[in-house]
């Protein structure tokens, strides 16, 4: 089928998803983008945010903390530093990720990452300092 694209979401410790997706909404470093089959080959880095995958069985949401995406015409791979399915996201997780970011915080890049992460948490209905 031409209107689906092989989508893989992998984190260093596990593979989270491998499905035939219709569209994938990716939180790119320069803004969200939606990739569908036939997308021009692109590599982008990610900011902390929510990744949405739409496939025949519905839509899955994942919280990603950063990493990069390798988008091709027939396959999309997202290599996330840390990724969690929506069900596993709670205030504790967000706190932990925030703490990790603050730990290494020394420039405005991490300040933006912290804000992005808080926004993502809020979007999923999880609030954390």
């Amino acid at each position: 089928m031409a209107d689906t694209v092989q989508f893989d979401l992998v984190a260093p410790e596990r593979r989270l998803a491998s499905v035939a997706a219709r569209e994938v909404q990716i939180p790119g470093a320069d803004g969200d983008m939606t990739a569908m089959a036939g997308h021009a080959p692109t590599i982008t880095t990610l900011r902390p945010g929510i990744l949405r995958v739409t496939h025949d069985g519905g839509t899955d949401e994942y919280l990603v903390s950063g990493g990069f995406a390798d988008i091709g015409a027939a396959a999309i791979s997202v290599l996330a530093e840390e990724a969690l399915p929506r069900d596993e996201v709670n205030a504790g997780v967000i706190e932990r990720l925030l703490a990790a970011l603050r730990d290494g915080a020394q420039d405005d890049v991490s300040a933006k990452a912290i804000a992005d992460l808080q926004a993502a948490g809020a979007a999923l209905g999880v609030h954390a300092g």
Binding site: D8, P12, E13, A40, T42, T45, G67, E81, E82, A100
Partner: protein
């Protein structure tokens, strides 16, 4: 000739040793399975990462503006050797093979007049290298408190290595670890992580769009590459460790079994000899009357 009591004590002691080694073998087998699963789960990430990085690096390697993590510092004077071993022993040659490989490398480099710095990960490697190369130690990472080898551990080590690199402490970094081949075979491996090396021809020749820019992505990914390489090494190492321990404990259990058999035969012979001697004494005493 040891007395009957001595033999009995030795048999009891070897039997309890066998119980311990048997238990350790079983624990190692269970942990090995978990470590192997973890190593397997990490493989897709590492493979894709390598593929993308290979393509990116091939494009950027030639240019002068390439990040220092890829290009190097332009010199190869100071080498950092990251030696990864286990926290514990009783695992056959696991720790000593890595230590030997690292020691040879360090001696080669020193003979060439290079400066060698050593970062040890895991207690046993530190102990093994301290006598000959103790002066070159610059740091140590203790894994005793780490219950489950996670990416966070690798990130911590990577951050340490990268901050040393940024501070100009070394030019080339190499990691030493055991690659897991099978339960009975682990291959001591060295891999250069800074400047980054990638297998030739790994990247596809597709022209990519880059967001934000090729340089920015490369600068973002290279530190992650270091963490990924270290993570892979840690996982391979822990699988290798349990594999080696399982094999070593299996051998120990078998040896203990052989030893018990030998001691039991000796014990029975001595006992029989004692009985025969006593009988002879009784009979000759009776005949003398």
């Amino acid at each position: 000739m040891p007395s009957l009591k001595d033999l009995k004590n030795r048999i009891a002691s070897v039997t309890s040793t066998r119980k311990i080694t048997k238990a350790m073998q079983m624990v190692a087998a269970a942990k090995l399975r978990r470590a192997q699963d973890a190593a397997m789960a990490a493989r897709p990430y590492a493979e894709r990462f390598e593929a993308v990085m290979g393509g990116l690096a091939a494009g950027a390697a030639g240019s002068d503006s390439a990040p220092r993590l890829l290009r190097g510092t332009g010199s190869a004077q100071v080498h950092l050797l990251v030696v990864m071993t286990g926290e514990r022993g009783l695992c056959g040659g696991f720790n000593s093979t890595i230590a030997r490989l690292a020691r040879h490398r360090a001696e080669d480099l020193l003979a060439q007049g290079r400066t060698v710095k050593i970062l040890t990960v895991g207690k046993k490697g530190r102990d093994a290298l301290r006598r000959d190369l103790g002066d070159h130690f610059v740091g140590h990472v203790d894994l005793a408190a780490v219950r489950r080898m996670g990416y966070a551990t690798a990130q911590d080590i990577a951050r340490d290595v990268l901050s040393r690199f940024d501070a100009g402490e070394f030019d080339v970094a190499t990691i030493f670890y055991n690659r897991f081949q099978s339960v009975i075979s682990q291959i001591p491996t060295e891999r250069q992580i800074i400047p980054a090396t990638f297998e030739e021809g790994a990247g596809e020749s597709t022209l990519f769009d880059y967001e934000p820019s090729e340089e920015a992505i490369l600068a973002d990914l290279l530190p992650r590459g270091v963490a990924t390489a270290i993570f892979t090494a840690l996982l391979e190492n822990s699988a290798s460790f349990y594999g080696a321990q399982m094999t070593a404990m299996d051998n120990a259990t078998r040896n203990a079994g052989d030893m018990i058999n030998r001691l039991t035969i000796q014990y029975n012979r001595s006992r029989q000899a004692a009985i025969t001697k006593e009988l002879i004494e009784i009979i000759s005493g009776a005949e003398a009357l």
